[in-house]
């Protein structure tokens, strides 16, 4: 038995599935229906029995109440004395008023002694003998209360039942107290019971006679009621019984109705299940069938799992197509001639390279034997080749390995005889045959050898050239190293020299500084003494001196003052190069305005117009730069003294790409021929009587600017004013340029 024999069609499988699903449900439904009907029946039986019991209990209570009340009379001592019977009669009247039933007193001989229906003392008959069980004899016999069967009352003239209680005296019945209940009263009780449609309720006496009955019209107990529909409950206080009867028709009808309804529901549910199952089966079957055999115009599956399966299948199919296409392209475009031969030696597939080799004149390559004879025209060679090939194929099939490569000379489609290496692999029953064109490789090998030889030659030449270059480079490097060593040596020497010179210079500067300091300090005192004593002489002895002596004293004083000025200048100059050089931001505009204001205050008689451009700022030593500005402005002020409308201007300008700060006046100016002397200490271009001064200001300014790494230049012409411009190193200068 193989797997295929065990498969089963999806639709029949699903049909079975539906069958297996529905059948147990059907069985279950039927069972439940039967159960329901039975439980309905049981519940109705219970209801009927309960009803009958309730009625019986109620009747029992009615009887018991009467018996108890009669007992009260029976134990009364009034019974024992016949003279007091009228009192008893009155009490019996009371009973009647309570229960609506008359009371009789009867002696053991069944003679009525009184009857509340008739006045006391009336002549009364004996008790009639009842047809069935009679209450009075029974009570007389047992000494216990008794209830009798139905009798026709001789006094009342209606059907009655009697309730008898014996009055026992000394264990013997001396009298009987008897009350009679009219059946109409009992009938009323029975009628008051609410009964379901068609049911009948009867009260039977001990003889089976009907005391009261509540039944639909035309009801016949014998004819209409089965035993199962009859519920009999005996009363405790009497031999009576309550009978509840359900006629056959009434008894079966609800069972039948319920049964029919359940059956219909089952039938409907089954039908629905089968139909729904079939619908689902068809739908599932269709979609699965579409999955198995795709139809062109089939609607896409709407069951998620099937849709997913469909997508997977589609993807797999696409992948397969893609891979097949790729394989085909690989096979077709393979850079080797390839063909596939089936078990019978028939060519089933071939690629382009193969066609190029073997498509003799035709677009189609020859197949099988024809190919052999075209490729190997010499029959003997051909046979030997065929034999070797068959042997190689057989060997490969036996070992499961490749077909051993075989070299042959084949005349190809282009008429060229080629050396081919034929090999292949077995593919199931078929063979994939590959051809390798040795002639091309040989040509390539030759070309490669030539190329290699050429490359080798070139390499050799290149190496020679490279060697030469290396030689040159080595020489150059040695030269360069020697030069570098020399440079290093020179640098070291230079540094050494610079260091030495710097040290010397620093020492010289120090010496010069202390010299200048000492000189100026020590020179002050004699100068002051000369002035002081000249003045003291004039003050203390002025009156005693001749006029020319006073002139001489003045000259001593003037000379001394000049000496003092020179000393001060020298001190300023020496101080300008001493101390740390600070780098402050210096607002030259503010400095200039301040100094000009001071000058104007010191010489209020002069009218000088000045213009200072705002925002002239540089970076440098604030106090030193202040000295520079002060010197330049003081000069401008001084030398413009004789100008008709003196004017001083402070501004910035760009020259050689650098900002310069300039102080210009329209004063005396000077001859540019002597410009180089301007900045030398104590050198003056004007006579003392023209413009007083000691010639130290510009020298100081220049030294300060040089210390900052800056420079100062002057441009002037006699009587046309002078302009002094200075600049500080770039990057530290922030003068606005215009």
């Amino acid at each position: 038995m193989n797997a295929a024999a065990r498969t089963v069609a999806l639709s029949s499988y699903l049909a079975r599935l539906i069958g297996f699903g529905v059948a147990p449900l059907l069985v279950l439904a039927v069972w439940l229906s039967v159960n329901a009907v039975q439980s309905l029946q049981a519940s109705r039986d219970r209801e009927a029995a309960d009803l009958a019991h309730n009625v019986a209990d109620a009747l029992d209570q009615t009887l018991r109440a009467r018996i108890n009340a009669l007992n009260m009379l029976a134990v009364s001592p009034l019974i024992d004395d016949p003279r007091r019977w009228p009192e008893l009669y009155r009490e019996a009247q009371g009973f009647r008023e309570s229960f609506g039933s008359h009371v009789l007193l009867v002696d053991p001989g069944m003679q009525m002694l009184f009857n509340t229906r008739l006045p006391y003392g009336s002549v009364l008959p004996r008790l009639p003998k009842s047809r069935g069980r009679s209450a009075a004899p029974l009570a007389l016999e047992t000494g216990k209360p008794a209830v009798g069967d139905i009798v026709f009352g001789p006094v009342a003239g209606v059907p009655l039942v009697a309730v008898v209680v014996p009055a026992l005296r000394g264990g013997k019945v001396s009298y009987l107290l008897l009350t009679i209940v009219e059946t109409a009263l009992l009938q009323g009780r029975i009628d008051a019971v609410a009964l379901p449609e068609g049911w009948a309720l009867s009260l039977l006496d001990g003889a089976g006679d009907v005391i009261a009955r509540h039944a639909p019209g035309g009801f016949d107990s014998q004819r209409d009621v089965d035993a199962s529909g009859r519920h009999v409950v005996p009363l405790q206080q009497s031999a009576w019984s309550v009978v509840l009867e359900i006629p056959r028709a009434s008894y079966r009808a609800p069972l039948l109705t319920t049964g029919m309804l359940l059956l219909a529901a089952i039938a409907f549910a089954t039908l629905f299940g089968v139909l729904g199952g079939s619908f689902a089966r068809r739908r599932l079957g269709r979609q699965v069938a579409a999955l198995v055999e795709p139809a062109a115009n089939a609607a896409p599956p709407d069951i998620a799992e099937i849709a997913a399966a469909q997508r997977r299948l589609d993807a797999a199919a696409a992948g397969q197509r893609d891979s097949e296409a790729r394989f085909q392209r690989l096979f077709q475009e393979a850079p080797l001639p390839l063909c596939v031969v089936d078990a019978h030696g028939v060519l089933t597939d071939r690629n382009r390279r193969f066609m190029r080799l073997f498509a003799y004149g035709d677009a189609v390559s020859p197949a099988g034997d024809e190919l052999w004879s075209l490729a190997f025209p010499d029959p003997a060679y051909r046979d030997s080749m065929r034999e070797s090939w068959s042997a190689a194929v057989a060997e490969a099939r036996r070992t499961g390995g490749d077909i051993a490569p075989m070299e042959c000379e084949a005349s190809c489609a282009d008429g060229v005889a080629r050396s081919l290496v034929v090999s292949g692999i077995t593919l199931g029953d078929g063979i994939l045959v590959t051809f390798f064109d040795l002639s091309e490789r040989r040509r390539a090998e030759l070309a490669l050898r030539d190329a290699q030889a050429a490359a080798l030659r070139e390499q050799k030449l290149a190496r020679l050239a490279a060697l030469n270059q290396m030689e040159d480079a080595n020489v150059a490097r040695r030269d360069a190293e020697a030069a570098a060593a020399e440079v290093r040596q020179l640098n070291a020497e230079l540094e050494q020299r610079v260091a030495e010179r710097t040290a010397e210079l620093t020492a010289a500067n120090h010496e010069l500084d202390s010299f200048a300091y000492a000189v100026s300090h020590d020179l002050r005192a004699p100068v002051r003494a000369m002035i002081g004593f000249s003045q003291a002489l004039k003050e203390d002895f002025g009156g005693e001196l001749r006029a020319d002596a006073l002139v001489y004293l003045d000259q001593i004083e003037i000379a001394s003052r000049k000496m003092g000025g020179l000393i001060d200048g020298l001190l300023t100059l020496s101080r300008s190069t001493r101390g740390e050089l600070r780098h402050d931001k210096v607002d030259l505009s503010a400095l200039a305005l301040r100094r000009l204001a001071e000058l104007a205050k010191s010489e209020p008689q002069r009218a000088v117009a000045w213009q200072v451009d705002p925002g002239l700022a540089v970076r440098g030593d604030a106090s030193m730069l202040e000295a520079v500005m002060t010197n330049l402005l003081d000069n401008a002020w001084k030398y413009s003294d004789k100008a008709p409308a003196a004017r001083i201007r402070v501004y910035a300008e760009n020259r050689d790409g650098r900002p310069w700060i300039c102080v210009a006046d329209n004063g005396a100016g000077f001859d540019m021929a002597h410009a180089e002397r301007l900045f030398k200490p104590f050198q003056r271009l004007h006579r003392q009587d023209e413009f007083p001064g000691i010639g130290i200001g510009l020298a100081t300014a220049q030294r300060i600017l040089h210390r900052h790494g800056g420079e100062i230049v002057a441009t002037a012409a006699p009587c046309q004013g002078a302009t002094f411009c200075f600049s500080l190193p770039q990057g530290e200068c922030k003068g606005d340029s215009q």
Binding site: Y517, H521, A525, V527, R528, I531, G532, F533, S534, Q535
Partner: protein, 146 residues
């Protein structure tokens, strides 16, 4: 009431003469003692050496001290004075022709009470000295206990 005196420490006889003249011109009649170098100044103040026996009050009201002095410089004298509790609070006025910043700084560091530069101009010099004398003798209140 103790007698107010001035101690002038001046090595330059011309300056000494001019200073004394200026003070006299300003009607300063107080006693003015003059010593001519640093060592003498210390001996005078501490009554040692050649001044171990001298008249006058223990300490002058003010000492006018030049910087450039032989033997001990003015700054050295000042520093020694300030190290000694007897003279730590003695009013000292530096009167010098030096306007060197370093001198000025040192003077104040060593506790000088005033630093006056001798003006080059004689008239100014005379006025300055007169002012100075009047201020320290008449206006200024000495520290308690001196």
């Amino acid at each position: 009431m103790s007698v107010k005196t001035i101690l002038l420490v001046e090595d330059n006889s011309q300056d000494e003469l001019l200073t004394l003249r200026a003070l006299r011109k300003a009607n300063v009649a107080n006693r003015i003692d003059v010593v001519r170098d640093g060592q003498q100044a210390l001996d005078y103040l501490f009554r040692t050496g050649e001044f171990s026996v001298r008249d006058g009050p223990d300490l002058p009201t003010v000492m006018v001290l030049d910087i450039g002095l032989p033997r001990l410089s003015g700054l050295e004298v000042l520093s020694r004075l300030r190290d000694d509790p007897r003279t730590a609070m003695l009013p000292v006025v530096i009167l010098t022709s030096s306007d060197d910043e370093r001198d000025r700084l040192k003077s104040y560091q060593f506790g000088a009470n005033s630093y006056v530069r001798k003006p080059v101009d004689f008239a100014e010099f005379a006025a300055t000295v007169a002012q100075l004398g009047l201020y320290w003798l008449a206006t200024n209140e000495p520290p308690p206990g001196l």
